[in-house]
């Protein structure tokens, strides 16, 4: 089988490097182009990057020359993956899609656009069907698929199997790691030995994006799930892994033991089709009273599995602690898994 040829935007950032590593051993995706900021164009990847993803750069990427983000530099690939910063993504991605390129992107613009699927593969791979609507209504020659905010990617996973209880209210406090702000996002002096109880924009994104992902594709549009939500996002001195302390109140009674069974047995299309980046167990239910912990659990299944612990009925609702790898499940891995699903279903 010929490999899928992909190109990567934002290839030198922390998420871009994670994608480079994940793709370096991929069975059917081949990274053939890398793009970065204008000052790096023409350089070899190894010269353009400050490599921080593990100790050794994959050989296959070292000599790739950095190309621009102009569509003509990406005409001969099958898909463009985007790890662009949010503030640059909109214009660049749109131009590509208009010129016929398929883009799967981690960046925030268009996530809430009703004609753009916002995909967390296990949760809502069916929403890819929205691409037909997208093509008809927008007249784009290419396709645009979005992945959610890293925290929404993590927190939406255990909500999916619990939808049948009819979520009324979610009260969520997140303890988010520093890598979520990018490699240079937070100074040592500001966050070491500290907590910053605020992350700009985050508290709104989580319920909004989750509501879309958990929604149902009816006809040619998505009907978002509606629920009340109050989110407080804090930054903690942890490198990788976003933790959420989640209180859920449902319209139907829930039983914690049943919830555990439903979460731990949850499977979806990526598991059924045995896709290479899919975790075998997307939601690990941990019984240890002091779990999940970032240092012990965040790397589960290469960072693609979500860990959930401390599940308990509380105050008429359900309490659980949810942890996921914001760089893999929340960013690089989710994009690659989305690509795998799209290929599996014939979108590519």
């Amino acid at each position: 089988m010929d490999k899928l040829r992909v190109s990567l935007l934002g290839a030198t950032g922390i998420v871009g490097q994670k994608m480079v590593r994940l793709l370096s051993s991929h069975p059917f995706i081949e990274l053939t182009k890398v793009s970065a900021s204008p000052s790096k164009i023409g350089k070899r990847y190894i010269e353009a990057v400050k490599w921080i993803e593990g100790y050794e750069m994959p050989d296959t990427v070292k000599d790739l020359r950095i190309v621009s983000t102009e569509p003509e530099d990406h005409k001969d690939v099958d898909v463009v993956l985007s790890a662009l910063p949010n503030e640059l993504a909109e214009g660049i991605e749109l131009k590509m899609v208009r010129e016929g390129i398929t883009v799967i992107s981690n960046a925030s613009p268009f996530r809430m656009d009703p004609e753009v699927p916002l995909i967390n593969p296990e949760v809502n791979w069916e929403h890819l069907r929205l691409l037909e609507t997208q093509r008809q209504k927008r007249g784009w020659k290419g396709l645009l698929v979005k992945n959610p905010n890293c925290t929404a990617a993590i927190m939406s996973m255990p909500l999916k199997p619990l939808l049948k209880y009819h979520l009324d209210n979610m009260i969520l406090t997140t303890l988010q790691s520093v890598s979520g702000a990018g490699y240079n996002g937070l100074g040592f002096m500001s966050i070491t030995n500290n907590i910053i109880p605020f992350i700009k924009g985050e508290e709104e994104k989580i319920p909004k994006e989750s509501g879309k992902m958990l929604g149902t594709l009816i006809g040619d549009s998505i009907k978002n799930v509606e629920f009340r939500a109050a989110v407080t996002s804090t930054r903690v001195p942890v490198k990788v892994g976003h933790t959420g302390v989640m209180y859920l109140f449902f319209n139907s009674p829930v039983d914690a033991e049943e919830v555990k069974r439903e979460l731990s047995s949850f499977k979806s299309l990526p598991q059924e089709r045995n896709l290479p980046t899919a975790p075998k167990t997307p939601i690990r239910v941990l019984e240890g009273e002091d779990r999940p912990q970032p240092e012990l659990d965040v790397r589960a299944e290469g960072g693609m599995a979500i860990s959930v612990g401390r599940i308990r009925n509380e105050n008429g609702g359900l309490r659980m602690v949810v942890l996921g790898d914001n760089l893999v499940r929340g960013a690089a891995g989710i994009t690659i898994l989305t690509l795998e699903v799209m290929k599996e279903l014939g979108y590519i």
Copy 2:
């Protein structure tokens, strides 16, 4: 004026050292005796302690000889302050009280005893009146006064001025510092770059002790405040300062702006009587959207003030982030302030 003579149990631990420092410059309390574990008896304090409280030990304590925890070693002091470990406190403190000694203690046994006042001075100094009942019913020759768990000391403060709204439900996630477990409580390997989402016993103590402190002394007993509560306590890699993300749902409507005014103008007896350890502003309301932060706020008013930020109406309730110094407001300082109140009111 003659100084009050006090003796200190657990004088070499992290809370004990904090008390030693706070007392070293106290206008009317003099530390005259220090007690520690049996192997240290007879040693000079400077030899018995691994001093970690700032860079310089107060001169006045250096040559004090460590005494035992037997009552006869504490007969000639006015009050015994206890920073004993919970598991040792019950027997030692009870024996002292029975033999006529007044003990103010940080340790957990007896905190929920209906005849023992559990004092957070600004919140419930009036409960000291329970000491009359205690004396009558128990037949102890001395007095026993307890201070709350460090997190309960911090979280109960902003609840006090909000009692009039009739609290129905509190959903609280705490991010607690490592010093709360004692100087050797947690290893570097276990908590650095990590979160441990569980602290043994903590989740129950916070609402129970708060309910007692916020209660009303009616006749000769305290009627606890009743409210529903769900607490998740997590440990984070921060040295000092417990943070709580608090969602409060009341039976009466609340307005966030009014709450800010009520919290920031809150005063109580310690402020009115201008007691030396009392913070001028017990509750600091911070407007900065990213506050309170342990590194910036925990030392406010020498660690005796609570900082509250991110106050907002949410989901029909109230959200706020509460921070306090677990070693000062939560332990050493609250005990000393309790003593000051007891002296002011003539209990000593």
Copy 3:
């Protein structure tokens, strides 16, 4: 007595804030002007600064309006203190000095200029006499005095009393804190749980600047002390405090016990004249085998004292571990103490 009126360049940076705090309670220096980057001019200090120096900004500075770095904005002060970044300092400071202003500066340009005194007060206050030469030869209307690099300020202190042994070779490994790179100098992701064994420019500055400070003013010029040196500077995940592991080889025999006596009894003009910012004991000799430690020792005497431990004869030389506060002794405090000495000696 009228207070000295000073103005502060770089007032919103980490060193600038430390100066603001130190000056807020100074007996005879009054901070009357603050300057910062152009975008902040005209703002009140409290609006222009992201305050990170303790929990409470001194009231006296809050309403000062930020002024420019142009000399005309600083005509009515007695002295200008500079905490400017190195890359901006040269032009700004020179312009001021030419127009008649006395500048005491922490920034690196001119430090090795033979007509500019490089002052670490206890080490070489006598070098201020070079200002007469400066005035004659340069034709500047004002005066320019420099303070050393923070590490050189710390490491040069214990070398001073040992000069009589005739230093031949210094082998120094430094473990420098992150604040030495400024508040935003290093990201959490890059230095947490890590060591970076290189700091640009640092390895050369330490011996060069130390050689000048330890030199002798002969006639109208300084004869630097010559010695061989090899320095390796590393960055460690510590907020404040630079540590040096120092091996010294002398031309005369040294005895570790004698060295301890000489270091601990070292006094200089700032101590003799009892200047307000001078530490009583500039060099603390610690006998504990595991000292000095940043968390226990860096705040000694308000950060102005150097701590030295593990003094031992080794391999025919002397080994010691030296620690100092890079923000106080190494920057803000040294500048203020220099000003105090200059006033005491009539230079201002």
Copy 4:
């Protein structure tokens, strides 16, 4: 081929767990017995251990029952590997060796015994020949082989190829990670944001053990290499990886560029025989001016390679910064590689 059956002492500690993981996928070693402290005997491994080595325990070890350290519990294995604490090791290991068991041990007793080989495989695999002497002179029925202190294991590697220059003097400052003290060795409060400039016993062990390992087996005894050494060992807030800043002075002239070639081309028997745990490049020479760094380099070749950077001629000698994984190259991996060499050479 039948697998070698091994038993592991100290199987629940931090080094023991690392061995469990490394052995779980070993091509010809099978872990068949695990031993731990008496209170755990009879439990399944999964019940007896607080697992902290990655997120998933190997299935093969989960159900092994903890056995005692008595020889009769280890009769039917080929080799016993010991990760025992130093204070327990001597008696237990000696008893086993006397009863005919072959023990390869990480613990310190017997390391400097002239009849016990102290093996860092690439450095001195030839010393295994000393086992013949051991057998003759001691009359033990089994064999005892030791591995060095973790820091000595790391620092001795780059010294080996430089022996021909005739080392005269080594001045070494180490920055050692917390895991070197064991999982519970250092509290968060004591080492976070701190440096402790002393590690008990370490400063003597490094040169002594290195001198033995770098020595030559002449006839039936080892002639240690003699050189002067001064070592200062510091503990830094890093989880894994010991760094050394090394100054070497030789009797012959050395050229830094030549040193780089010699270090990077160094190979030994484990590489020549392609042993499974042997790193392909035992010494990685890094050209980046800010390398090696624990976060980027410590996992090189699974933690078995040493990283060396900042190689430079200085003051007539050579300066370099050396980094290695104290848990793998310094403990678990070195023991397994020693076993592989012993098998390869027919000692087992």
